[in-house]
Symmetry: C2
Subunit: 419 residues, 2 copies
């Protein structure tokens, strides 16, 4: 996921691990038409973020997504568009437990004629609407599941839990310290979870929700409980969509690559921008061009700032757009390209009139780029001999660039902003 | 709170109700330096939103905010800046219960020499970090508290609650249907909550957190439990800050006032904008000017779109800015003013060159307006005889205006955007 999304070195796992991702929810609690797992963030459905969280872990072999029949085509489309490689979709059942069982059974069939050979040692079960699980925690759950038969994420209770009388009055409150919230992911050896689903009752299938409970009741396995980070939370209410969007936007706006084109003026500007950009949450990597080792930015960075002196000739920004297209990135996030144009004129009106041609150019370039999921914006920076005014302009560039990178607003694409 | 924040007709309450708002939290769980209740949203601390939620309720008499001693000056500054009228701040204690008790005692002293006369019949207790409580629900809690002695908000449990063994394994899981999460607000008759704090033990003061429990244990009062809306949730984690910001931004971007200046072209444009603006979540009210009855918009609307044909003469937008300044609104949110400039020229470069003067004007006006918490942006709309191009421009105005109104970005103030 590029520089914006650093991965841990990652301890390796020497046994086969696969994932079941129930994604049949209908999203009642958000009050939206679209089930939460299919709500889009920066143009990409939530479930694709969750799939990616597992797919990028080298020791995870396959991911079975369990979806309602009516969403089979939608799911296939998501897998294709976002180039997921380890995913298979299977139809869900009428309840959560039936859906998870379908996923477990599908994993058991992966060996073809030698089913036992294809079975994973450990199965991780997660929610499609908990996209921010990280590799370290998956490792903890997977290894604890192998050792203890079952393992589950827990969190401290945020509210006091109370028991009510049938008439709706307080009966008693629980001692908060003795209880925990059971979260996801959970992990099981294939044998434990498979046996639990073979033995459990129709009533469990109809009304139960907690896999840890089935492992305890039908296999005598007391799950090991591990406290997870708050990012494990489940996207449940409408407000959670905004929270998820904010986390996703943070992740892709942590860094940007500033391309100077070899200009000394650009390097000076980039140097002056680094501090204010950092204060706004974005690290600037400054490079003369994107050749040689720096070509790797084309494969990992989500944000580019292209400097140019002569704003009527867009050769440099055109070359950057072409290079990004050639890199053929998986379309996981929209890319941001900010074209910073240095205007020599100290005279405001003259500078602005000269910018008119550039404005027309950027409008055209941005329309074409948008079709390839690249958001192109312009900033015109007015050179000034007045050092105070110059400093104001530089921090304005930093402010504007930060907003453009962070918000990734399609509505502002093609605008030439003034700094 | 203006059109963006409609209030219910409001049933009246014929007994005195006051509020205690413990605000001593240190915000560990957000991972931020600033305690959550003092984090700013659109330039205003969260606690001011919570205070306003109570202050706007006509039947609430006074609000005692309990703050840590080191935040006394900060709190006084907030009360002054946002013109809160019903608020008194008192110093907190070393634990939550001690802080709430301080608030209760402060309420008991309001009658001066006749303390009993000043005491409220019912005390509502709420968290400073639950800003979205509405009048209807406060009414339900207050009346139930008067009837039953105590009342509290509850919510269904989102996660399964489990009991753990001392070694960190699953012991058993609770039947979700029998339990609820205890939330805020809670309400008590003054007598019940006062007596509960008189009788409870040092251990309760040290380790307890649940007022409903004290009322039950020390006064034998079983609180009436009432399910509240999900908006009652407590801003707890960093992600909750983004969720709260999104709700606040939604609330102030639901409507905008489009001032045509009497121009027929402007009225036609406004008519064409209404549908796309609505699709993006903003209702447009179209008025010729802000005189007569329409002057009321100056007192309640957070968003204005001022149309003008001749963009080199800013008389109309200057008049609007002056009228907003004269209205002397409480500075609860930044106001957005979007100056839409109609450019007659069908020729792109010509139109843009002509806009240069206007760009300089808007830069100057916006700097002055920003000091008064008014965010001024410009959109230049290019007239076109090509009807397809014209329609594209109109929907571009709607898109850009929606982003400006919703995001209220200070970084983009003074920009002249092209539609
Ligand atoms: Mg990680
Ligand atoms: Mg209300």
């Amino acid at each position: 996921a590029g520089k914006g999304d650093p991965q841990p070195a990652g301890r390796d796992v020497d046994f086969p691990v696969s994932v079941v991702l129930p994604a049949g929810g209908t999203g009642e609690r958000t009050g939206l038409q679209t089930p939460k797992q299919f709500c889009s963030f920066l143009g990409r459905p939530l479930i694709s973020y969750t799939i990616q969280a597992f797919e990028r872990v080298s020791w995870i072999q396959s991911i079975v997504v369990v979806v309602a029949r009516e969403n089979t085509d939608l799911m296939a489309d998501i897998v294709r568009r976002f180039r997921h490689r380890k995913v298979r979709a299977v139809p869900g059942g009428s309840t959560r437990h039936r859906s998870i069982r379908n996923g477990i059974l599908a994993l058991g069939e992966e060996g073809g004629e030698r089913p036992a050979a294809g079975r994973p040692k450990v199965v991780l079960i997660h929610d499609a609407v908990r996209p921010f699980v990280d590799e370290d925690f998956l490792y903890e759950i997977a290894t604890a599941a192998k050792e203890h038969g079952a393992a589950g994420a827990i969190r401290p209770l945020v509210s006091t839990v109370i028991a009510t009388t049938p008439e709706g009055y307080l009966d008693h409150s629980l001692e908060r310290g003795k209880y925990r919230a059971s979260e996801m992911p959970q992990g099981f050896t294939y044998d434990v979870i498979h046996r639990a689903y073979q033995r459990c009752s129709q009533s469990d299938f109809d009304f139960g929700t907690e896999c840890l409970h089935l492992a305890l009741q039908y296999c005598g396995t007391n799950a090991k409980l591990i406290q997870g980070p708050p990012t494990l939370w489940k996207v449940t209410y409408k407000r959670d969509l905004a929270a998820a969007e904010s986390i996703i936007k943070d992740a892709v706006s942590r860094s940007a690559c500033f391309v100077t084109g070899g200009s000394a003026r650009a390097a000076a500007l980039a140097g002056a921008l680094q501090e204010p950009a950092r204060a706004l949450g974005t690290e600037l990597d400054v490079v003369p061009d994107l050749t040689g080792e720096n070509a790797s930015y084309l494969l990992k960075e989500w944000n580019f700032i292209q400097f140019s002196v002569d704003h009527s000739r867009p050769a440099e920004v055109e070359a950057l757009l072409a290079a990004l297209e050639a890199a053929d990135r998986a379309p996981l996030h929209p890319l941001v390209v900010i074209w910073v144009q240095w205007s020599d004129s100290d005279e405001l009106l003259g500078g602005r009139a000269a910018a008119a041609a550039a404005a027309a150019v950027i409008t055209d370039l941005s329309s074409a780029a948008k079709l390839r999921n690249i958001l192109l914006y312009g900033i015109q920076l007015h050179q000034s001999k007045d050092s105070e005014r110059w400093e104001r302009s530089v921090s304005k560039v930093a402010e504007i660039a930060s907003v453009l990178i962070r918000e990734r607003s399609p509505a502002l694409v093609g605008q030439l902003l003034q700094a």
